[in-house]
Subunit: 258 residues, 2 copies
C-alpha cells in the first residue's frame, strides 16, 4: 500500500471527461488503490455534477480540483505523464511501456498522470505539455481502453511498483546505511527540478519575446509555441535554470520594447 | 503481446454477472489485452442478452461459452484461480497477491480465472473449486473493485508477466539450449495434471461411496463434499492418479452395492 507521502506524489488528471460513469469508475479505482488527488480539466458541467452526485460517489470526487486548462492542473508537477492510444500519431516525446515506467518515476517529486476525453484522447496541445507518454501494452486489434479501466490498470502498476521499490523516506528512516546517506547527499546537491508552472511561465515570456522581435509571422505562432513546449520538457531544466533563462528573456524583452 | 498458444491457455469465467455494462467492460478488457476465451456461468438471461446485443459488443462476447455451474465452465482447466475481496472470509486455500502470481501459473496448461457476481462475490462452494485465490492489493478502506476494472487489472498482469517470461514454445524454438531441453524432458516425465473435470468425477464417485457406506449422516453430506473439493485441489493429483483412485473407489462402490 502507498504511504501518505507516496500518495501525495501522485495527481490523477482527467481532461474533459464526458461519461459520468467513467468519471465515477476512475474515482473508484483511485480509492481502490489508495490515491487521493484528482483534478478535472474543463469537464462538461452537467455530466460532472451527475458524477459527483451519484450514489456511492467517492469522497475524493467531491474534493477534486477543477482547472480550466491542463497547464493549470499540473502547475506544481515535476513530471507529467500522458496516456492514450498512439496508433495514428507520431509522438514527439519518449513513449514508455507501462510495465517499464518504474525507474523513470522513482525519483520524481510530484507526478501527474493525464487521461484524455473518451473518444478523442489528448489533443496535440495537451500532449506537448507531457514529459513522456506511457503506453498500456494492448492488442493492436483493439487498442483503445475504456477510461475507467485504463485508470485502474495504470494505478495498479504504480502501487505494484511502489511495493517493490522502497520509498525514499522509508529507506532513510529504516536503514540508515551508506546507500541511503549517499542518496540523501545527492538530493541536497541535485537542484530541484522545474515544475510545470515554471515551464509555462518561461514559455510565455519566450513567446512574448519572439513576438516583440517579429521572430516569425503570426500564422506560425501556434506552431512555435508547440515546439517550445516540447523543447522545454526535453531539457530537464531545474527551477534555478528556469529562473536564469527567465531573467535573460525579461531583459531582452525590456530592451526590445524600450 | 500474447502468442496464440498463450491466449489459448487462459479462460476468463464470470459467475452470475448482473450488470450488462460490467459484462461488456470485462469483454472489452479481454479484447484490449488479447484474450479470447470467455465463459459465463448461470447469467441472468435478460442482462446477458442485453450485454451481447450492445452497440460495439466484442465478438468474443458473442462466442462466449455458457455453463450451468462453475465446475462445467472450468472442466478442462488444470489450474483454477478465484478472485474477490477476502476481508470477511477465512479462505481455505493459498492466497497469492496478484503481482506474485507469475511463477505459479508459468507451467500450467490451462488456467481459469474466475470472477464472482458484483455484490456478493464467489460463494463458498465456488471458492472450494479453486486451487488458489488471487488478491488484488487494494486499500482496506475501499477494497472492493468494480468487476470490469478487476478483470482489466488481472489480465494486464497476465500479459505483463508473459512479456517478462519467455513462453515455453518460444524458449524451445528460439534457444535450443541445455535449459530448454531439460524442460522438454521434464515435461515428458512429469505426468499430466488432473483437470477440473477429472477432480469433479472423482469427487462424485467418492461422495457416492461415502453415502453407500453410510459414512456420515445426510445432514453432513454438503460439508463433506466441500471438504473433499478442497482436499482434492490441495493434493496436486495427476490425471493418472485420479484414474487409479477412481478405479479403487468404483471397485469399493461395486462391492458395497452387491
Amino acid at each position: 500500500l502507498l504511504t501518505n507521502e507516496q500518495r501525495d506524489r501522485f495527481e490523477v488528471v482527467l481532461v474533459s471527461p464526458r461519461n459520468p460513469l467513467n468519471i465515477g469508475a476512475a474515482a473508484r479505482a483511485m480509492a481502490n488503490f489508495g490515491f487521493a488527488h484528482l483534478s478535472v480539466v474543463a469537464p462538461y458541467e452537467p455530466h460532472w455534477r451527475e458524477a459527483k452526485s451519484a450514489v456511492g460517489a467517492e469522497s475524493l470526487l467531491l474534493h477534486a480540483r477543477g482547472a480550466q486548462c491542463l497547464n493549470e492542473a499540473v502547475a506544481d508537477c515535476t513530471l507529467v505523464i500522458g496516456t492514450g492510444t498512439l496508433e495514428h500519431r507520431k509522438p514527439e516525446q519518449p513513449v514508455v511501456p507501462l510495465p517499464s515506467l518504474a525507474p523513470l518515476i522513482q525519483d520524481k517529486e510530484k507526478i501527474a498522470i493525464v487521461f484524455g476525453p473518451e473518444k478523442r484522447g489528448l489533443t496535440r496541445e495537451d500532449l506537448a505539455l507531457c514529459h513522456l507518454l506511457v503506453e498500456i501494452p494492448t492488442d493492436p486489434r483493439q487498442p483503445s481502453m475504456n477510461l475507467g479501466q485504463a485508470v485502474a490498470v495504470c494505478l495498479y502498476e504504480f502501487t505494484r511498483q511502489s511495493r517493490s521499490l522502497p520509498s525514499q523516506s522509508s529507506t532513510a528512516a529504516d536503514a540508515p546505511s551508506l546507500d541511503s546517506e549517499t542518496r540523501a547527499n545527492e538530493t541536497s546537491i541535485v537542484p530541484a527540478p522545474a515544475t510545470a508552472a515554471d515551464l509555462d511561465l518561461l514559455a510565455g515570456v519566450v513567446t512574448e519575446t519572439m513576438q516583440a522581435a517579429n521572430y516569425s509571422p503570426a500564422a506560425m505562432q501556434r506552431a512555435n509555441r508547440h515546439d517550445l513546449d516540447l523543447l522545454l520538457r526535453r531539457l530537464t531544466l531545474s527551477g534555478q535554470d528556469v529562473r536564469r533563462i527567465l531573467g535573460l528573456f525579461r531583459r531582452i524583452l525590456w530592451r526590445i520594447k524600450h
